[in-house]
C-alpha cells in the first residue's frame, strides 16, 4: 500500500536578509494510511517547517514530498491543517467560519452545508451557528476550528500543537474528541507537540527529532494497549510510564548533543 505521506531526503534552508539557516537536513519519513504520528523534539527542530512542507505551503530547498504517491506542488485538498490557536475570523459567524474551506474550494452547497451542521452538532456545538467567535470559550473555538478542517473531508490532517493554548481539562477532552473523530473517519494524522505524554497517548508512532538542523533521531512504536485506549485512559495503561521515560531520555540526548557541540 502506498504511504499517505512520504518525505525523501528533504533539506530546507531558511533565508532572510541576515542569514541563511539550515532548518532541516536529509529528513526521510513515511506515514501509512490511517496512521497517527507525533513529531516531538526540542524547539528549533523544524517541526512547524516540516508541517508547512507537507502541507505544500513551503517548498523544500531539496528533496521530494509525496502525498499518496504523487509529488506535490502547492496545497492540495487532501490536506487539512490545524493551527496552535483557532484563528477563527472574528468578523465571521461560527457557521461562516466552519464553511470557509468549502467556500474557497468552491464546494459550498446545500449538501456540504448540511454536513457542516452535522459536524458542529456532533462536536456539541449545535445552536452556535449564528454566534461570533468571541462569544465562545477557547475549547469550543478550537472545536469549530476542527470542524472547519474536517468540512472539506481531507484525508490527511496536520495538527500543529492544536491543544497547547487550552487549559488542561479542555485539552484532555479535545484530545479524546480528535482521536475518536479521526479514527472513526480513518484519517491519517501528523501531530506536532511539546507535550510528550500527549504524544504517546494519542498516537501510533512517536518520532523524536534532532534540532539544528532538524532530522529524524528515533522512531518509537506505541504498544498496543496504550494505542487502542482513549487518550485519557492511555495515560493509565501499563507501560505508559516506561515508554515516557524512554522517549524522554532520547529527547534529552537530542538536546544535549547540540549543547555539547556548541560548547566545544
Amino acid at each position: 500500500m502506498l504511504p499517505t505521506v512520504e518525505l525523501r531526503n528533504v533539506t530546507h534552508v531558511y533565508v532572510n536578509e541576515r542569514e541563511a539557516k539550515l532548518a532541516i537536513e536529509q529528513l526521510s519519513i513515511s506515514i501509512a494510511p490511517g496512521e497517527f504520528v507525533s513529531l516531538v523534539g526540542p524547539s528549533g527542530c523544524g517541526k512547524t517547517t516540516l508541517l508547512s512542507i507537507i502541507a505544500g505551503l513551503v517548498e523544500p530547498t531539496e528533496g521530494d514530498v509525496f502525498i499518496n504517491g504523487d509529488r506535490i506542488k502547492g496545497t492540495t485538498q487532501y490536506i487539512g491543517y490545524m493551527l496552535q490557536q483557532d484563528y477563527l475570523f472574528p468578523w465571521r459567524t461560527i457557521m461562516d467560519n466552519a464553511c470557509i474551506g468549502l467556500e474557497l474550494t468552491k464546494q459550498l452547497n446545500e449538501v456540504t452545508k448540511e454536513r457542516v451542521l452535522n459536524l458542529l452538532d456532533g462536536m456539541g456545538l449545535g445552536g452556535t451557528e449564528k454566534l461570533y467567535p468571541h462569544q465562545l470559550s477557547g475549547g469550543m473555538r478550537q472545536r469549530v476550528a476542527l470542524v472547519r478542517t474536517l468540512a472539506t473531508e481531507p484525508e490527511l490532517l496536520l495538527l500543529d500543537e492544536p491543544f497547547s493554548a487550552l487549559d488542561y481539562q479542555t485539552k484532555l477532552q479535545l484530545e479524546d474528541l480528535i482521536v475518536e473523530t479521526l479514527k472513526a473517519r480513518e484519517k491519517t494524522a501528523v501531530l506536532v507537540t511539546h507535550d510528550l505524554s500527549e504524544a504517546i497517548a494519542v498516537s501510533d508512532r512517536v518520532v523524536v527529532l534532532n534540532r539544528d538542523p532538524g532530522s529524524v533521531r528515533r522512531s518509537f512504536q506505541v504498544p498496543e494497549p496504550i494505542r487502542s485506549a482513549q487518550p485519557f485512559y492511555a495515560r493509565e495503561q501499563h507501560g505508559f510510564n516506561d515508554m515516557f521515560h524512554e522517549v524522554w531520555k532520547e529527547l534529552e540526548a537530542s538536546d544535549r548533543k547540540v549543547r555539547g557541540r556548541n560548547n566545544a
Binding site: 487539512g80 484563528y87 470557509i100 474557497l104 472547519r148
Partner: protein, 277 residues
C-alpha cells in the same frame, strides 16, 4: 414544612440577582445623567460668559464678538440667502475631498500591498511627501487646476491621501500571518487572501482613518479657500478678516464646527453599522 427553606432559597437569590442588576442600572443611569448635565452646564456657562464678557467689555468685542451677534449674523445670512452658496460649496468640497481621499488612499495601499517591489520603490517618496507641508503646494494646484472647486479638492487630497495610504497599508501588514495561513491551506491565492482576510481584518483601521480624514479634509478645504476662492466658508473667514468683521469670522467657525461634528457623527454611525458591535 421541612421544605420551606430549600424552596425559599433559590427564590431569594433570584431576587438578589434582580436587585443587584437594578441597582447597577440605576447607578449607571445616574452617572450618565451627571455627565450630560455637566456637559450642558459647561456649554451654557461658556456662552453666557462669552456674551457677558463681550457686552461688558471684559474682552474686546471687536475681536471676539459675542454669541447673540454671531447668532444674528448666521440668522441674517440664512434669511437673505447669502449663506447657502458658501456653506454648500464648502460642505461639497469637504465631502468630495474626504471620500476621494479615503478611496484613493485605500486603493494606493492595496496596490503597494500587492507588489512588494512597488512598496519598496515608493517608500522613500511617500515618506518625503508625507513629511512635507502639503498646503505649500496650494499655489501650484491653483495654477494647475484653475481657482475653484477642483484645486481645493486637490489641496485636500494632498493632505489626506498619503496618510490614509500609510495607515491602511500598515494595517494590511499587521494582519496575523496565521489568519493568512488558514486561507492558504485551502488553496487561497493572493486575491482571495486579500478579499477574505486582509481587507475585513483592516476595517477597523480604515474606519479610524475615516475619522482622522474628517478633520484633515476640513483643514485642506479651508486652506484651499483661503488661498483662492470667491465662495465658501474659508472665503468668508478671509473676507471677514479683511473688512475687520470678526463676527463673520466667528460665525463661519461656528458653522464649520457644527457641520464637522455632524460628519463625525455620521462616520461613527457608519462604524457601528459596519463593525456590528
Amino acid at each position: 414544612m421541612p421544605n420551606h427553606h430549600t424552596s425559599g432559597a433559590p427564590y431569594r437569590s433570584a431576587a438578589l440577582v434582580k436587585k443587584t442588576y437594578d441597582d447597577f442600572r440605576k447607578q449607571e443611569r445616574k452617572f450618565k445623567l451627571r455627565v450630560s448635565a455637566t456637559q450642558l452646564f459647561i456649554l451654557i456657562a461658556f456662552i453666557i460668559g462669552w456674551e457677558l464678557g463681550g457686552r461688558l467689555k471684559w474682552i474686546d468685542p471687536l475681536l471676539f464678538s459675542y454669541p447673540s451677534k454671531v447668532g444674528y449674523q448666521i440668522w441674517k445670512d440664512m434669511m437673505d440667502g447669502s449663506l447657502w452658496p458658501h456653506l454648500g460649496m464648502t460642505v461639497g468640497e469637504t465631502i468630495v475631498g474626504f471620500m476621494l481621499g479615503t478611496i484613493l488612499g485605500t486603493l494606493l495601499a492595496i496596490i503597494i500591498w500587492w507588489s512588494r517591489f512597488l512598496a519598496k520603490v515608493l517608500d522613500p517618496y511617500m515618506v518625503v511627501f508625507n513629511s512635507m507641508p502639503k498646503v505649500a503646494l496650494g499655489p501650484l494646484f491653483i495654477v494647475g487646476f484653475g481657482p475653484g472647486f477642483t484645486a481645493i479638492v486637490v489641496t485636500t487630497l494632498s493632505i489626506t491621501v498619503m496618510i490614509t495610504t500609510l495607515v491602511v497599508y500598515n494595517a494590511f501588514r499587521e494582519v496575523d500571518p496565521n489568519y493568512v495561513k488558514v486561507v492558504q491551506v485551502f488553496g487561497g491565492r493572493r486575491g482571495v487572501i486579500f478579499k477574505k482576510v486582509i481587507l475585513p481584518s483592516s476595517y477597523p483601521a480604515i474606519i479610524s482613518t475615516l475619522k482622522v480624514n474628517v478633520g484633515l479634509s476640513w483643514v485642506g478645504v479651508i486652506v484651499g479657500e483661503f488661498l483662492v476662492s470667491k465662495v465658501g466658508l474659508g472665503y468668508l473667514i478671509i473676507y471677514g478678516f479683511q473688512v475687520f468683521n470678526f463676527t463673520l469670522v466667528l460665525a463661519s467657525l461656528v458653522l464649520i464646527a457644527i457641520v464637522a461634528t455632524f460628519m463625525y457623527v455620521v462616520v461613527e454611525h457608519l462604524e457601528r453599522r459596519w463593525l456590528r458591535k
